[in-house]
Amino acid sequence: MISIWFFIGLSLLVNGALILAAGIYQLVNPPENPAVVLFNLHAGVWWGAILFLVGAFYCLYFRPKRS
């Protein structure tokens, strides 16, 4: 049976990748008038990276094994 932790890892991995990609895009192409405060911290980049790494760890550690 696939572990629930694998599903959680998958969710964090995919969400992390999407957020990281959006964050990098905004880092490379910064908007003239950012819609959020503290834009200079680029939260999308580091938060996306954290979620991606945690998700990758969960996916690997709890990956379905062949019986």
């Binding site: 969710s11 964090l12 999407l18």
Partner: protein, 567 residues
């Protein structure tokens, strides 16, 4: 944008980008995939209704907490924190932690040993069919109504935040829940609740982190709130000496005895919505550890709920107002504080994750309601009262259909609330009527062997009626608040606390009096159901760091320290 188009599109707090929509769609696909994957593991009654009783302590504990961590809970308490300050934290600490530990160490062994499927099921074993029927019918009725009310409220939030039409939000989320719960039963609900727990934290955690950064740390935040509003907004206990010296209009006795000793005990130990998750634990140690794990995380929830409300007091440029004023002036209400903070800090991607967190919170609460309703309907109403001779397969099918029908009744309630908004206040008040007296009945049932079936039934009935009577009295004559809540300065939340306390005392008094006048069961009949007549199984020969008592001690220590720090 031309004027005509602007008028057609509803106003909204935030606008989502393509990546935000991708995150939301991925979430829906994943929860449905989990339900589909688990459908082959929900063929027997034990599998469908009790998740095979094979959940680990972590899975049961996180699901136990997640079922309570609905989106309205997140947004409502963030709004309360903006309105009342840090006092709202009491609902997460003294209003939860002692009750969760009490459930783990005192009550869980009895639920677990009796192998009951539900809380009404325990009442049947301890007090007889009449108590079970009263408790089951009231729980089933209120659960689907509450689910509908929450559905409407959530759809309204989505309309305000994203501009989504009400019907779209209601049908998409409710049908998704109906599909994954009817396919995989309680196991599917629990697995998705654990997933939703992670998403809620991943989506909401950035707000306090970035908010504290902007405010210049906790000390500066306190100074700004004291300057803009009042220093009492950041003290947990020091303003509770009198009803008029704190923003909530409550006295410390209401918090300690009404909230801590009765209302929260009633909710966390007898509301089947949360207790069902623990009954699915794989062994007695997991069943005891699960609420303790839940308590550990519950203590941290104010960081993502209360702190954003407090940060809103300091950093938001506009002042939030009560709903009637917001409707008249076009401003934002207290309950908008969390979405406003989300929009303030979260750009593309992060915004989608934050909105997903709100949707996940709503769906976890709804799945909790639906799976609890399904079990109580099938095992405590349909089987004993309508069709006692069905096969296990028949009851599983009944469970699947009840899931769908329960969701449809909830949708119907949501549309009813759409027509008559005042129903919402009544239904939410009604639900609280049953909680405190039920705690009195279950507590006496577990701890006092002399309590009889008649005592349990009449205590529960009179306690519930007394609560309804007090509520009706204050509705008809608002000046009665001085008697019910002990002060004319008391506010709505304070009234709830004292109402719970009095109805609990009525329930206990009537149960004791009737029990003393009626014939008790024999000791042999009460074995496995009552303290003193039951051999509580050991959690096994495990190291001290794996014992529930050890971790409960750690949680208590942290709980005390936190209360002192924020005194």
């Amino acid at each position: 944008m031309n004027l005509a188009l602007a008028m057609l599109l509803p106003e909204r707090l935030v606008r989502l980008s393509a990546v935000d929509y991708a995150i939301i769609v991925f979430y829906f696909v994943l929860v449905l995939a989990i339900g589909w994957y688990l459908k082959g593991r929900a063929n027997t009654g034990e599998d469908f209704f009790m998740a095979g009783r094979e959940m680990t302590a972590w899975v049961a504990g996180l699901s136990f907490l997640s079922a309570n961590l609905g989106a309205l809970e997140l947004m409502g308490w963030a709004g309360s924190a903006y309105q009342y300050g840090i006092l709202a934290t009491h609902w997460y600490w003294i209003g939860a932690i002692p009750a969760m530990l009490f459930l783990a160490l005192v009550m869980m062994p009895f639920y677990y040993i009796s192998k009951t499927h539900s809380v009404p099921g325990y009442l049947k074993l301890r007090f007889g069919e009449s108590s079970r029927a009263l408790s089951a019918v009231s729980f089933a009725f209120m659960t689907v109504l509450m689910s509908g009310v929450n559905m409407f409220a959530m759809a309204k939030v989505m309309q305000i935040v994203l501009g989504w039409p009400l019907s779209f939000s209601i049908w998409i989320s409710s049908l998704t829940v109906a599909v994954y719960v009817s396919l995989g039963g309680l196991r599917s609900a629990i697995f998705n609740e654990v997933l939703q727990f992670f998403l809620i934290w991943a989506g909401a955690l950035l707000i306090p982190i970035l908010g504290l950064w902007e405010a210049g740390g906790w000390t500066n935040l306190k100074l700004q709130i004291a300057h803009n509003f009042s220093a009492q907004y950041v003290h947990l206990w020091s303003g509770l000496d009198h009803f008029s010296t704190n923003p909530m209009g409550i006295h410390w006795t209401g918090i300690v005895f009404g909230l801590g000793a009765v209302l929260s005990m009633g909710y966390w130990t007898t509301d089947f919505l949360v207790v069902q998750r623990i009954l699915a634990a794989k062994d007695i140690r997991s069943a005891e550890m699960a609420p303790i794990i839940g308590a550990g995380f519950k203590m941290m929830v104010p960081f993502i709920v209360i702190l954003p409300g407090l940060l809103g007091l300091a950093v938001l440029p506009e002042k939030l107002v009560p709903e009637p004023i917001a409707l008249a002036t076009g401003g934002h209400t207290y309950n908008d504080v969390l979405p406003l903070m989300l929009a303030r800090y979260c750009g593309p991607g992060l915004l989608g994750l934050g909105i997903t967190a709100l949707i996940a919170g709503f769906m976890s609460g709804m799945a909790g309601n639906v799976s609890a309703f399904t079990t109580v309907w099938t095992y405590d109403i349909y089987r004993p009262l309508i069709n006692p001779r069905g096969s296990d397969h028949h009851y599983v099918n009944m469970g699947r259909w009840t899931t769908i029908i329960g969701v449809l009744i909830s949708v119907g309630t949501a549309y009813l609330v759409m027509q008559f908004a005042s129903i919402m206040d009544y239904v939410q008040a009604l639900f609280s009527f049953f909680i405190a007296p039920l705690f009195g009945t279950v507590l006496l049932g577990m701890l006092w062997k002399r309590a009889t079936g008649a005592g349990g039934f009449w205590g529960l009935l009179c306690g519930t009626l007394s609560s309804i009577g007090m509520w009706g009295w204050v509705k008809a004559d608002p000046s009665a608040l001085r008697y019910v809540a002990l002060s004319p300065d008391a506010k709505a939340l304070a009234q709830d606390m004292y109402q719970a306390l009095w109805s609990f005392l009525v329930c206990v008094s009537i149960t004791v009096l009737v029990s003393l006048a009626t014939q008790p069961k024999t000791d042999a009949e009460l074995s496995g159901l009552v303290y003193g007549l039951t051999e509580v199984p050991s959690v096994g020969d495990v190291p001290i760091y794996q014992k529930p008592l050890f971790w409960a001690g750690i949680v208590v220590a942290v709980f005390v320290v936190l209360n002192i720090i924020f005194w």
